[in-house]
Point group: C2
Chain length 226, copies 2
Amino acid sequence: MELYKIHPQHYVAVDCVIMGYQDEEIKLLLYPRSFEPYKGKWSLLGGFVQDDESADNAAARILKQTTGLEQIFLEQVASFSVPNRDPEARVISLAYYALIRIDLHDEERVKENGAYWISISKLPNLIFDHQEMFEKALIKLQQKAGYSLIGTELLPEMFTLIQLRKLYEALFQREFDPGNFRKKILSLGVLEKLELKDVSESKKGAFYYKVKNNIDEVGKDRIVKF
Amino acid sequence: MELYKIHPQHYVAVDCVIMGYQDEEIKLLLYPRSFEPYKGKWSLLGGFVQDDESADNAAARILKQTTGLEQIFLEQVASFSVPNRDPEARVISLAYYALIRIDLHDEERVKENGAYWISISKLPNLIFDHQEMFEKALIKLQQKAGYSLIGTELLPEMFTLIQLRKLYEALFQREFDPGNFRKKILSLGVLEKLELKDVSESKKGAFYYKVKNNIDEVGKDRIVKF
DNA sequence: ACAAAAGTGTTTAGATTACACCCATGA
DNA sequence: TCATGGGTGTAATCTAAACACTTTTGT
């Protein structure tokens, strides 16, 4: 301990890139900062790491405080530590990203926090380095898609392959060939076809699928390009 | 500032996974910890983030202090923040990895620090979560190989494709088909063939190559599987 | 000439893309 | 029956892996 004492300590924060999916768009949960400096400017949801929790736990705590959701997919993005990134004080921030179902979150709680869901195609300027946090989170997510079926965290338990494709199109900001997308996804072997159709979009109806129960891991060897 | 004051501050450290290449093996720079607890146990090279530097700068500083090298490829691995990971005090650590040429480093300095180069195939037990830091660093590096010519930081300016293959074999801990490896690497279009041969390994001699000068980025679209 | 390392070519299997085509059904 | 979205099939192109083959040169 003596040896450590000569070193400075720092505030350590976590900032969460909370992504949801609604109206065929990826949205971020953002709130207008309630105090100076940059009062009113848009910010990711964040908080400080306390003495008795890991940064992972802090991120999960913030996610629960702001959305009411627990047991959510959360992953580290990167650390941000330029000394003056927050002009108020030296704060080292660890960025995380989370994928949640907007339809399940606690709307009351979000309102209390003054937070809003904003489409990533219409993002306002964000404070500090929050824009960069979002960009890195999105890149991480896209890379992950190559070896794992991502994004099902953003959809209901049951979904059609058309819904899944729309989600991927929102995530990658480009279109996919319907036939090829279907084959690629099914070739991963992680989806189970249900004997139930979504007839809201067409007369024929599209079969619902769900993620198989016994999926430990999509084959690590199997890499798919999107 | 007032708003931040209610939050705790923490020691923030950086730990560096410093990789080098020698005798057809990837080696890590490690040193036996000089104080309790875990005195004598092997540790990555690390240090504390100071008030006036980013974590990236701190990692570069530590790399320079221990190897004498500057302007080195350094990348974030992940953060490690379980409250009791260091039993002595609460320390949040940001792991980095670096690739250096062992033949260029300052041997005197390494000796002063009591550090040693140890092959990754014979790693001793490391303190705290340093083993995990190394494992994550290696995975990051392997992934990076898919879209970028990595590892040339570990070799001299000029190298033969055979030398490069041996390096990749050490990095991935498996063998590559000599013919296919050659075609795959050359297809990236980032190497320039020199009119000079390495005749130390064979009578015929192997042409030296170097990385082309005007390489901004290996095509982001081109993804190669290793 | 031949051994040994360097380098090239060929074949097969699988993945990716573009796109044509068939299917089911309500209006 | 026909328009519409859902779903299947196929040919052309590209990539990866296995492995046979050719080149070069000192001894």
